[in-house]
Structure formats: C-alpha cells, structure tokens
Amino acid sequence: MALLELRGVSKRFGGLQALASVSLDLDDGMIASLIGPNGAGKTTLFNTLTGLYRPDEGEILFQERSLVGLKPERITAAGISRTFQNIRLFSHMTVLENVLVGMHARLQTSLPAILLDSSAFRSQEKVARSRAMELIELTGLSERASEWAQQLSYGDQRRLEIARALAAAPQLLLLDEPTAGMNTSEARSLMTLFQKLIGKYVKAILLIEHNMRVVMGISDRVHVLDYGEKIAEGHPDEVRRDVRVIEAYLGQGSWTHYAKS
C-alpha cells in the first residue's frame, strides 16, 4: 500500500500549466527524489501537497485519506512536513524555539492551563524541550540551540529547517533542495542523516534535489518533471539513461552526444 498517492494532479497559474496531470506513488520506507530543470514544477508540487496551493484537478491521497482542500496546518497534523527551498526560518527566534514551533500541532495545552502555569503544561513543555533538543542534536546544532536562527551559517540554517520539519513528527518528510549551497562533505553527511531518518523518524522522504550525486546516491526511486509533466520515473540508473530526461536537461539532440561520449 502506498503512503502517498497522487492521481492526475494539475495546477494552472493563468496561462501557465505548472503541473499537468502528475501521478506519483510513494511507498513506506522509501527515499524518492523529484528532479527536473528549473521551472519544471517541483516546488509547485510540494506547495500543492502541503496545502499552500489547491490543485485544479486530481486527487492526493495520504494513507488513503484525501488531502485536497485541507489547510496547511491540517496537512501537517496529518503527517506531512516540509522544508523550504529559499530557507524560511523564524529569524528572530532561537534554534530551540524554531524547533518547538514545529511541534505546535503535537502540543495540546489549553489557554487556561498556560495562564495558570499548570503542572500538565509544565511537564508537557519539559517533554517538548527535551525532544526538541534531541532533534537539534540529531542535526548537529546542539552548540547553537540558544542562538537566533538568523545567526546560523547557511548550512546550519538548512539543517535547522530539517530539525523543525521533523519536530512535527511527520510520516512523510518533504525536502526542498536540502543540500543546495553545501560542499561535498556537508552534502554527504546530510545523506547519511536522511538514511538514518527512514524508519526511525519518518516513514518516507521525498526530496527535490539538483545535486545528482545526492540523487543517485540515496534515492530508491526518481521522478522527473519537465514543464509540469512527469516524463520519467524509475530506479536512478534507469532514469539516468532515459532519453527524455537527458533532453529535458541538455536540450534536444544532446542524446547523441551523450551516447558517443
């Protein structure tokens, strides 16, 4: 049974067909990549999945429940959380606070409990904080827990985005270009982290990535988008040799060059 199923999802912005009847399956325990040239609709697909956009057509099923029309916070509560391509941290909040915000939907203290500083509230805060610290440690940010997010280096900010997304205790983690701007060794350490997450913290990961070394290195399955259409899908090695994929990236006719070289 698939964890996530997309059936013919389409999204138009005026005359632009951002997503054209995209179908996609994601199984438990899988790391899948979403690749494609710039403007292919990868981030649009994420935004549609997380409820920032509403699809014009099609169905999105997550654990056999439809997500279409749900508000973003409902989708997060249902078990999908994400990171952003253009880092969107809460700059004037500490690293710890950023992660704690990710837990919002899991914390259930009521207003009176907070105002009266009830013991239930206190113990829940304590549990939340220790869980947040665990995630911060997992992403290697322990040293910076009490610093403002805006003071972190670029790579650390990306890591914090991942910690924050994990705080919502998702089943499916969506990562939008997690290794962008990172050097090879940083990217490699993230790849190990992703593999560690599967099974223990999340059931599946879907990532958008331009770094082919990462894509080929960790994906169980690769989906390729071009002009909003899914043009290929399969094992990394199959996709790598797919004519349409190479043409989408390098232009028509480049296949022959590639084959010769």
Partner: protein
C-alpha cells in the same frame, strides 16, 4: 562577593533617592531618581532574591509611603501603571503577532464606557427601573466582564480584517477606532447611551471591601487619601497579573506560534500553526487587557468623555511599544514608564521651573550679547506644550540610532 556589593549599592541608592524625594517633594527630579531605582534593579547583577525583595519593598512600601506625603507621586504611578498595561496589551498584538494595530485605544474606550454607563446613573436613560448606578461591589464583576467584552470585540473586529496584512490592516484598525469614537460621541440620541461629547459622570469607584479591616485596626483614613492608594495597589495588581500572563504565554506554544506568524506566516502555517486562530487569540488577549484597564480608568477618573480616546492616544501607546522594543515585555514596561514620566513629570516640571525663572526675572549673562532677562521669555515658550514635538524628536533619534528599541527581545542567555 560582587553580588553582595551590588546589593549594598542598590540599597544605598534606593534609600538616598527616597530621602531626596521625601525632603524635596516639589522636585520632579527627586522622584525620577526613585523611579530610576526600579530600572537599576533590572540591570544590576545582584542576587535574584535580593532584587525581588528590594523591588517589592519599593513598590509595596516606599512608593506608597512617598505617595502618602505627596499625592502627585501616586497619580504619576497610577498613570504609568495604566499605560504599562496598555503597552503590554499592544505589545502582544504588534510585538508578538506582528499585526500593526493603530486603533488600540478603541478597546480601552470600550472597557471604560462599559463601567461608565452601568456604574453611573447613565444607564437609567435606557433601562427603566432606576437600578443604576450599580453599587461599587459590581466593579470587580465588571472588571472580569470587560475582559470577556474586550476579547469578544477583538475577535469580532479580527474575523473580517485579519485576512489583511501590513498597511491594510493598520488602516482598518485605525478606522475602527474612529468608528468607536464617533459612536461614543453621537450615541446620545435617539437613545442616550453614552451622553455624547458631554461625557459621563459620576462613575462609581471600586468598593472599599477592606474598610472593616482598617476600622478593626483603628485606622481612620479620609477617603481623599485612601482612594489614590487604593487605585495604586489595584493598578499594581492588574499590571502584575498582566505581566505574569504575558510571560507565561510568551514561553508557551501560543507565544511561539505568535512569533512564528510574525516572522513568516507561510512557514508557520506549514509547521502546523493554525494562523487565523492564533492571530485572533493574540488580538483577543491584547484587547482584553486594554478593556480591563479601561474599566479601571473610568473608575479612577469618575468622569470620562470621548476626548480621552483619540487617535493620538493610540499612537502614543504604539510609540511606547516601539521605543521600548517591540516584542519585549521589559521593553514595553520601560517604554510606557519613560513616555509617561516624560509627559507627566519632566516636561511639566521643566515648564514650572521656567515659569518660576520668568516670574522672578532672573537675568542670564550671555557673553558678547549682554544680559537677557528671562522675564522677556515669550509666554508661549512652555515645554509642556511641546510634548508632541519633543516626543517626535525622540522617536526620530531612536529610529536612526536604535531602531530595535531600548530593550529589544534578547536571545536566551547561554546556561
């Protein structure tokens, strides 16, 4: 060791400033020195329990004692308290949730009129039976009621407008405040609800529930002396509750959600924060503070009219929050205290001083120009009248040199 030294220094400073204020009751500066000791308490690195003890001494014993000698001190302290409460309420809306509200005073007015109408004969105009004014005992019930009414009006205004962001929201809140003021101004016909521009008086004061205790102790305090003290402690209590509530909220999932919305609404939603609900909650909490203090204000003033709730008042409270540092509780307190002291105490004191010089005809010797008699100083030159100008200058200077405010929110200190 250094902590003990600092504690000793603090004690010395507090004693000295209180003595000064005691021996120079006319001096605005002596009282300023007393007020400054609270700021010192905040800054100086003394042991925490010493600080708490000294602060409590100052607020619960020394200030009331000084106010007993000189009622003016209490008046200033009560005003500061009212503005601190307003600033803390607005700080939640503007500083935490990041929604620019230019009409905050409307909710203050709603609270004030709530008690003014029912705590005076005014309500007899539209409810037959002559039940009004309600007895003083109703005051505390209305204080609680005003929290609900304030929160409810906050939500009612919030529901349609919270879809707007930034400038658009600011304009709507500004308009709302003007609507409230216009309503209050004109609802004297066809049914006389608010008595229009003539205002409402006399408004019932809070009940002296502790009177039997005083009598038991054999104390007979004239009510002219008792009420200022009573209001002082009432304001202190309300401000205390508000500070506690704000602090607890700030360090809870609710406070974090508010700040997350301020920082990035989309990301907050993606992290599972119900943006609209949390915004409404922030609005409601802030406005309920304002309307609770409104009840107190009405009871203290005995007379209120729409003049007390103008747009400038909203701007004034906003300026306090900005000066102090948006999103910071100590900042809002300091901003409110600073601006109130400036208006009520320093500029007035300066005016009085200049007037004194003018009347005594003191002469200034200016080199090369000759002597200048201060009696020739034009009568228009009175600092108290330039309140807004001086205030504006301070704001401009602040925005250039310290745009984040005097006490901006800090990162958690490393343990």
């Amino acid at each position: 060791m250094s902590g003990a030294l600092a504690a000793l220094g603090l004690c010395g400073y507090i004693a000295a400033s209180c003595l000064l204020a005691y021996f120079f009751p006319q001096s605005a500066l002596a009282f300023l020195a007393v007020q400054a000791s609270l700021l010192l308490l905040y800054y100086v690195a003394a042991p925490r329990n010493v600080k708490v003890f000294l602060g409590a001494m100052l607020l619960l014993v020394l200030l009331p004692a000084l106010g007993w000698m000189n009622g003016y001190y209490l008046e200033v302290a009560i005003q500061i308290g009212i503005y601190v409460a307003l600033a803390l309420g607005l700080n939640i809306v503007v500083g935490f949730v990041g929604l620019l509200n230019l009409g905050f005073v409307a909710f203050y007015a709603i609270g004030a009129y709530l008690w003014a109408i029912f705590g005076s004969p005014q309500a007899n105009q539209f409810i037959p039976g002559g039940f009004f004014p309600l007895s003083a005992n109703w005051f505390f019930l209305f204080l609680l009621l005003s929290i609900a009414v304030g929160a409810l009006t906050g939500i009612l205004l919030g529901l349609p407008v919270l879809r707007l962001r930034g400038d658009y929201l600011a304009i709507v809140t500004l308009g709302f405040a003007e609507v409230v003021r216009a309503l209050v101004n004109n609802l004297d016909k066809p049914i006389n609800l608010t008595n229009g521009p003539r205002g409402i008086s006399p408004i019932t004061k809070p009940p002296l529930f502790f009177e039997p205790l005083l009598e038991f102790a054999g104390l007979h305090i004239p009510s002219a002396k008792l009420y200022p003290l009573y209001f002082y402690f009432l304001v202190l209590f309300i401000v205390g509750v508000i500070i506690l509530a704000t602090q607890r909220l700030e360090n809870s999932r609710i406070g974090r959600a508010w700040k997350a919305i301020r920082e990035d609404e989309t990301a907050a939603a993606a992290m599972g924060v119900p943006v609209v609900r949390m915004k409404l909650l922030g609005f409601a909490v802030g406005t309920s503070f304002a309307s609770a203090v409104g009840v107190l204000f009405a009871a203290k003033q005995v007379f209120i009219n729409p003049e007390s709730f103008t747009f400038m008042e909203s701007i004034g409270v906003l300026a306090m929050v900005i000066l102090g540092g948006m999103g910071s509780i100590p900042g809002a307190i300091l901003g409110a205290a600073g601006v109130t002291i400036l208006n009520l105490q320093l500029l007035k004191g300066l005016s009085l001083w200049l007037n004194g010089l003018r009347q005594s005809g003191t002469e200034l010797a200016i080199p090369l120009v000759g002597t200048f008699s201060l009696s020739q100083l034009p009568a228009q030159f009175e600092p108290a009248k330039y309140e807004r100008m001086i205030f504006g200058l301070i704001l401009i200077v602040m925005m250039i040199f310290r745009p984040q405010g005097v006490l901006p929110p800090e990162q958690e200190r490393k343990k």
